[in-house]
Subunit: 311 residues, 2 copies
């Protein structure tokens, strides 16, 4: 595990050293000393200074295009963290398993979930060539995974940061994706291998981090999350919809590489292994916009959302 | 500041000592020793064992009944933390200021905000007997405030817990309400006294704790938050709605003591200064439901939502 990757470049304006947590944020104003004449960067300034190399283009083969009647959601899968689950999800998608299935649940301040409303009944849609059970991928060995560590006191993990563009927690040689807003998970029953990707959920509330290491996360929503989060909440237990009338039909889900090139979204995601991303995090940690009277000087992993741009 | 109030009673089954954070959660199973034969309590068991004295009935004079065309939201004001702002909000409500105004903003993973769409224009609705500017109440002196401290490593505050039923952070003799999901805030401009309660917001996403101590919080939604959170997101900058068509009209907002007794909601909120609440927090910290394979052993302040019951 590394702290920030060796910086190939530093923005000229980034002259503020990373302060230890308990140094009063007031010091950031530098009290007019010559040693610290540059202003700390605002997020707007960081974004403006980004270079093309600070962005990455997700592999279209890892993008889910989820089409609902009222809009589209783009989700980036995370084969680096959940290879078996992602492979099974891709099999299901290529088999057009999800087409005309439904959003089955919206529980306020928790998750939106989709799949086969008849999954537990005789008329359940068959999984075809996909597996019925998949090994849980609740965490991985930290070996070989570079974490850009965030200087944060986290309630749930000894270390937090970003790896392969996604928020992670880590301890005792393990690393796992964290249940931040917009993360995609693989619903499961009591048996840990009962999740197979035929029912998926997205976090739509305050990060339910107690789910970390208890269920497989497999990606992150990049675009269109409002098409899930603004759905009416289900009136049944746990926010499940109680009738077909309440459910939203899934028109279809496709992988980017199944879609005609002209129909693919030209989408970039900010890299998380760059000096520019460190500047971005710094700008979210010390809020120097005029509006703030107390710039905080602290940050929590799920309040850092790697920016996305659609060209 | 106290840790938990002196317990007047302990549930018989609550035989598990509070473990220090770094003791592996496995130990909770007690390894079959006689010293610790009782099972840790599930949340369901804690809720089942509650007595009437574990609940409180909010003062109807502190409840906002916010009526939208599609449903009602009940909000408890927090005069103990923001007395001047709460007083001005009450003046506005008694003057029927909000009637036929609108939800003006829904920004995904952030806030829903309401007020006068024409607030910055000539035809703005006058504030009547309410004040135009109100002193900021971003934090208070911790003197005289009893905090039921939560054993959590918090990213933003040295100490977190509950006081007067609400989530708080504390350091250096200060105490402040934390921006958890469902908290009510007093929108303001750049001037710190520019918030007056004529525009209010509710947190509808991952807790934006960087707002703590930068803006006045004045209450918490007790019921009906889904009537706010499932609204379509605004398409303008910061999630503001761009036209009257997009906005939801506020039918009216009333205080509970303005409403006929038979129309008041009979609503109870779990007290946070009891042994039962400590048990509740413990049950959310160590998740022993069968589904969990890793009971976590950790908790974050905004993942503790004091339960509400409507009779």
């Amino acid at each position: 595990m590394l702290r920030w990757h060796p910086a190939k470049k530093r923005l000229n304006k980034f002259a503020v050293p990373r302060l230890r947590r308990h140094v009063p944020a007031l010091l950031l104003a530098c009290l007019g000393t010559a040693a610290c004449s540059d202003e700390p960067l605002s997020t707007a300034a960081v974004m403006e200074a980004l270079e093309e190399t600070d962005w990455r283009q997700p592999d279209q083969g890892n993008l889910l295009y989820m089409r609902l009647p009222h809009g589209e959601i783009i989700i980036e899968l995370a084969p680096g963290f959940a290879p078996e689950n992602v492979a099974n999800i891709k099999t299901l998608v290529r088999d057009q398993y999800f087409d005309n299935l439904a959003i089955i649940r919206s529980q306020d301040n928790y998750v939106v979930q989709w799949g086969d409303p008849a999954a537990d009944e005789d008329q359940a849609r068959p999984l075809g060539s996909a597996a019925e059970t998949v090994s849980p991928e609740f965490y991985r060995s930290a070996n070989g995974i570079n974490i850009a560590v965030i200087d944060s006191r986290d309630a749930y993990a000894d270390v937090v940061g970003f790896a392969n563009g996604l928020p992670v927690g880590s301890d005792r040689g393990r690393v796992w994706l964290t249940h931040c807003y917009g993360m995609l998970g693989v619903a499961r029953g009591v048996e840990t291998d009962s999740g197979n990707g035929s029912s998926l959920y997205v976090v739509t509330g305050h990060a339910p981090r107690h789910l970390d290491r208890n269920i497989t996360l497999a990606g992150r929503v990049l675009s269109g999350i409002e098409n899930l989060t603004a759905l009416p909440r289900g009136t049944g237990a746990l926010g499940f919809y109680e009738s077909a009338d309440e459910r939203t039909t899934i028109v279809n889900i496709r992988l980017g590489d199944e879609i005609a090139k002209e129909d693919r979204l030209n989408i970039d995601v900010m890299r998380t292994d760059t000096a520019a991303f460190a500047d971005y995090v710094q700008s979210r940690t010390y809020r120097h916009e005029e509006w703030f009277v107390d710039p905080t000087g602290r940050i929590e992993i799920c309040n850092i959302n790697p920016p996305v741009r659609i060209n």
